[in-house]
Amino acid sequence: MTRRLPRMPRTPLTVLLSAVFLAVAVLCALAGPLLAPHALDQDLYLGTVGAGVEGHLSGTDALGRDVLSLAVLGTRSALLGPVLVACGSMLLGLLLGTLAGFRGGWLDTVVGRYADLLLALPAVLLAMVVVGMLGGGYWVTVLVLVVLFSPTDVRLVRAAVMEQAARPYIESARVLGIRPGRIMVRHVLPNTVPIVVANLLLNTAFAMVALSSLSYLGLGVAPGAADWGRQLADGQRIMVDNPLAAILPGVLIILAATSVNLLGDWLAERLDRKVATR
């Protein structure tokens, strides 16, 4: 009765900056080759390795490639994979989570055990072993991460669905004889949107960290490919000659994941408020 919601605050500056950064990153991912100042094979000869190479704002890497161009071209694998991982695992989460949460019974037990099993291990570590042993490329890595990320989504969706399913308006719909599938689509799932959207972004950020970690270790991307994790690993070897070769991708990874996290937190709060006040 006395608890009133505080007024909606203005969009914080950090969120705006995150959005701008991500917009630029998406642009680079879409039109990287057009935006990159140099083609990667342009200066592939010895003698231009390091900082202060003429015409290269941030120097060149060990192979003589332009560091900035490599970073611009690296946005694609930095963004696409994580987004796919988040969407894929949420899709699994929605599928298994709703089934387990709404149906219950043995299905719930099976799904619960599956989630327990996968959660008992560090995801990055397991991904490393699986990808490393299978020797798969980028897409195999994405697929493995989808499977490894899904338990948290399954649990999240399951909990949200179970919480919803006990609500009086859902039970009223059941007594009215409305089919479970329809109840799911019309009543349960729309009310889980805030939690799903927030978790999509959260998982995207986690997947950015995980995928770049794997590529840093040399897993999931081909040697020499334009990828921030890989670029950092290569750049680390010439840190004395051109520190930017490693620092630029490192900072970009941190900025990208931070931006997605900030955006996710902000969106979660807004959607939450919207649900609470409607």
Partner: protein
């Protein structure tokens, strides 16, 4: 946590036994999975084993026989499993040494690194999280929350690299690589790696602690305690005791995170620990080592989870009742 009511004279022992049983089952399934991966892996492991030697059909056949690669999957697995039960973890394909001695050699460094990082992140993260919760919405809180978002978003290798560049290469306060000799020198060498590892972990601890304390501060018992004239300090004590429950229960997750992170940090700082061993073994497909490391990791996580569950019983009397080990 699905704790079922336990009967019997010693319910606590029953609880622990059930938990250990679950952990063993997990280890079994995991070993099967990793063994399956080896079996499924494309390419010929025998060629890997031969290394630079000439891959004549005879040499390949000899290597296959030596490592029993020509046997069916289940027999190979059984061979490995019975070896394991006899205390034999197998032989490293890459170095030819027994896996157990390779592991033992590198265990110390990883243990030291992880303990340092864990201690650091808890000692700094918990007070920071409490402070943020108490100043909710104010500048200090927003800075801490913002910092923890960055910390959670920054992978250990990227942080490690930045630290390495600023404090190692730039300021030359800390060594760039190596493990040092003696305790203090070793500590000095581990300073940057453990900070790199602790940053992400500490950020998690800040987030967790802050959320737990904020939630408890809104509880009715806080209003009721204040209404009875309890001072701010006493009320905070009650709140912290309650907030400890969710924080302690997520320690298991933190350890899992720590073990994932140590691989990256050890690689970045070129430290000869279990993490970098896993990295190189995976790249070389040294499956005996990979298998052993996976199991060790799972074992550690399982034991920590068990310890956390026991701690849960200690900090939450409601849990004791539900697990059937309370009064």
């Amino acid at each position: 946590m699905p704790l079922k009511g336990a009967g019997g004279a010693r319910p606590l022992a029953g609880f622990v036994a059930r938990r250990l049983g679950t952990a063993l089952l997990l280890l079994f399934l995991l070993s099967l999975l990793v063994y399956g991966l080896v079996f499924l892996a494309p390419g010929d492991i025998a060629r890997n084993l031969l290394g630079t030697r000439n891959a004549t059909p005879e040499a390949l056949a000899q290597v296959r026989a030596q490592y029993h690669l020509d046997e069916p999957f289940l027999r190979q697995y059984w061979r490995w499993l019975s070896g394991l039960l006899g205390g034999d973890l197998g032989t490293s394909v890459r170095t030819g040494e027994p896996v157990s001695s390779v592991l033992a050699e590198r265990l110390g460094l990883t243990a030291a690194l992880c303990s340092l990082a864990f201690g650091l992140s808890v000692l700094v993260g918990v007070p920071a999280g409490v402070a943020a919760a108490l100043r909710r919405g104010r500048l200090a809180d927003r800075l801490l929350v913002g910092g923890s978002v960055v910390g959670v978003s920054a992978p250990g290798f990227a942080v490690g690299l930045l630290l390495l560049y600023v404090f190692g290469v730039g300021l030359e306060w800390f060594p760039v690589y190596g493990t040092g000799t003696g305790f203090l020198d070793g500590l000095w060498h581990l300073a940057l790696p453990s900070v790199a590892l602790a940053l992400g972990l500490g950020a998690f601890v800040v987030k967790l602690t802050r959320a737990a304390v904020v939630r408890e501060l809104e509880e009715d018992y806080v209003v009721f305690a204040r209404s009875r004239g309890l001072g701010g300090r006493r009320v905070l004590g009650v709140v912290l005791r309650n907030a400890a429950v969710p924080v302690v229960t997520s320690l298991g997750l933190l350890v899992a995170y720590l073990l994932g992170g140590t691989v990256l940090v050890e690689t970045t700082f070129a430290l000869p620990g279990l993490g970098s061993l896993l990295e190189s073994s995976v790249l070389f497909k040294d499956f005996a080592v990979v298998q052993a490391l996976t199991l060790v990791t799972a074992l550690v996580v399982s034991l920590v989870t068990l310890a956390v569950d026991l701690a849960y019983l200690a900090v939450d009397p409601r849990m004791r009742t539900r697990a059937g080990v309370g009064r």
